[in-house]
């Protein structure tokens, strides 16, 4: 499972970087920081959610979705929002 996740994340980040380069998009350093933290938090959530399931701790799994999953989506949303604003500001 983690191999596939790593492939997807790697492909996604690479694709994003290539698209940003080809569209001449300017990014700030904090765009990357927020985005990377968001991805790491999302991966952390996924691992602990499924790990908790394997341990039989369903409640803990749900708490991970709430406590770390939602913030990860918020961070990724913020990062995406910044990218969108940068691309529109330039055009």
């Amino acid at each position: 499972m983690w191999f596939i996740i790593a492939l997807l994340v790697g492909a996604g980040v690479t694709g994003l970087a290539m698209w940003m380069r080809s569209s001449g998009m300017n990014t700030k350093w904090y765009d990357w920081v927020i985005g990377i933290v968001g991805i790491l938090l999302l991966l952390f959530t996924i691992q602990n959610f499924f790990g908790s399931g394997l341990e039989g701790e369903a409640e803990a799994g749900r708490m991970f979705l709430l406590v770390t999953g939602i913030p990860s989506l918020i961070l990724l949303g913020i990062s995406g929002q910044f990218l969108w604003r940068h691309s529109h500001a330039e055009s």
Partner: protein, 477 residues
């Protein structure tokens, strides 16, 4: 067709090769190089490995005043019914008299944890599997199996080599943990108990003999010559502990199987190597207080709960026994994994104890708390450590009130979790490194619902063999 070219210059490429080579050279210089297997055996790298956040220290994290400690009389501990009655009188007697009826009622009603199939599994384990692994525990060796001939030539190895070898052997036989110590004068004067619980009627004594033995009056003789102690810890199952309280939630339910295996196997192994092994290896006949032995040999740290100790790998889930041998062994040192420090903030065991028998004190003390207004120092508690003190007689009464089984504190400990979710090792590593998040971590343990679980849920889960997550220990030596 487009031609693709590298943006790395020849200069940068050669520079990169050089740096990589220098890095490999540095790595090689710091890596141990062995010329033969003897060097492998004696290398410190080959002996013990624990999780990286576990530090070895010279003194246990629990402070100990050795000047006030003396050999403990286990006839005074709370597992003696006269001591139980001394503290709680008729209340205790009533609880004892009703204990079987309470359990029978739960079984008749098939309450969760007492259903017919769960009880059948438990009885099958106790009276079947565990009974099959009963070599007959005795100071002079197993009573139900033939003793291997004692080798005339003693195995010659350095203490470090012997410790490594014995640790590996004990692991195969079922011990997830092994700790070693020299039997020095302090151990003889303070740690080896005077006698087991009252019903046995014999003592541990010392004599100038080469081989330990049992005297006609039952006294166990430990030779005065240089001896060594080894502590074997078997992992307990988590699935049953989390059903507490239930018919099979006892914290030493499953590990007993493996400690019996370690007892018999190690006895025979040592005889093949030309050395003796002495231990009754029993719950009430153990020659030292096992928690103390585990703390002093670096297997675990002290806990707030005061009866169990805390292992970095598996929390409360350890079943320990101590034996003596004359095979030279290199001592293992106490550890600091931040767990004792964490206990001072956490108190989840105290919060969840049904009877409130676990201390809520902020600071540990050398002076044990009274139980029901009566002194416990050197009665139910061996003084010496600066600890939090359990009302041991009250705890025993609580078990009776529940029909013979409680163990809620075992289930609730924050350090029990360790298997699949990465958060557990992250928490343990953080706790071991800095205490500033201890309060937050303790609260999260409760908020995330760790601890007691649905008592019948395990029937629908995939379980490891014997219920023991031995894969955790396969990562460590």
């Amino acid at each position: 067709m487009s031609k693709f070219h590298s943006v790395v210059s020849r200069r940068d490429f050669m520079k990169g090769l050089g740096l990589a080579g220098a890095g490999l050279g540095a790595a090689a210089a710091t890596t141990p190089v062995f010329h033969d297997l003897d060097e492998v055996l004696s290398s410190p790298y080959s002996n013990v490995s624990r999780p990286w956040w576990v530090k070895e220290v010279d003194e246990p994290t629990v402070e100990i005043d050795w000047s006030i400690m003396s050999r403990y009389d286990r006839a005074l501990n709370a597992q003696n019914s006269d001591i139980e009655d001394y503290y709680y009188g008729q209340q205790m007697i009533d609880a004892r008299n009703n204990e079987d009826a309470v359990e029978a009622a739960k079984l008749a009603a098939e309450e969760p944890g007492y259903t017919r199939k769960t009880n059948a599994m438990h009885q099958g384990w106790r009276r079947g599997s565990r009974a099959a692994m009963d070599p007959g525990l005795s100071w002079e060796g197993p009573t139900k199996i033939s003793h291997e001939p004692m080798a005339t030539a003693k195995w010659q190895g350095t203490p470090e080599e012997n410790s490594k070898m014995l640790r590996s052997v004990m692991r195969i036989y079922g011990a997830a943990w092994a700790g070693f110590e020299e039997v020095n004068q302090r151990m003889r004067d303070k740690l080896i108990i005077k006698n087991p619980t009252a019903r046995y009627g014999w003592k541990f004594v010392y004599e100038d003999v080469d081989q330990g033995y049992i005297k006609p009056n039952g006294d166990r003789v430990l030779p005065n010559k240089q001896m060594y102690a080894f502590v074997a810890g078997a992992n307990e199952a988590l699935f049953n502990i989390k059903t507490a309280p239930s018919i099979f939630s006892a914290g030493n339910n499953f590990g007993n199987f493996f400690t019996a295996s370690v007892y018999a196997g190690t006895f025979q192994f040592l005889r093949h190597m030309g050395y003796q092994m002495l231990s009754d290896w029993g719950h009430q006949t153990a020659p030292v207080n096992e928690g103390g032995a585990a703390v002093l040999t670096g297997i675990a740290e002290q806990s707030r709960q005061n009866l169990y100790v805390l292992t970095p790998e598996a929390g409360t889930r350890i079943n320990m026994q101590t034996a003596f041998t004359d095979m030279p062994l290199a001592p293992t040192h106490p550890i600091d994994a931040g767990m004792w420090k964490f206990c001072q903030t956490c108190a989840k065991c105290a919060d969840t104890c049904p009877g409130g028998w676990i201390s809520f004190e902020k600071e540990p003390t050398y002076d044990p708390d009274p139980a029901n207004g009566k002194v416990t120092a050197n009665v139910t508690h061996a003084i010496g450590p600066k600890a939090y003190w359990l009302d041991a007689a009250g705890c025993r009464m609580q078990r009776k009130l529940f029909g013979g089984s409680c163990h809620v504190c075992y289930a609730e400990c924050t350090f029990n979790e360790s298997r699949d979710a990465m958060i557990h090792n992250l928490v343990k590593a953080t706790v071991a490194t800095t205490p500033i998040f201890n309060g937050f971590m303790a609260n999260m343990s409760a908020a995330f619902g760790y601890g007691q679980r649905d008592k019948e849920a395990w029937w629908d889960e995939s379980l490891p063999i014997f219920g023991i997550e031995s894969e955790i220990f396969a990562r460590y030596k």
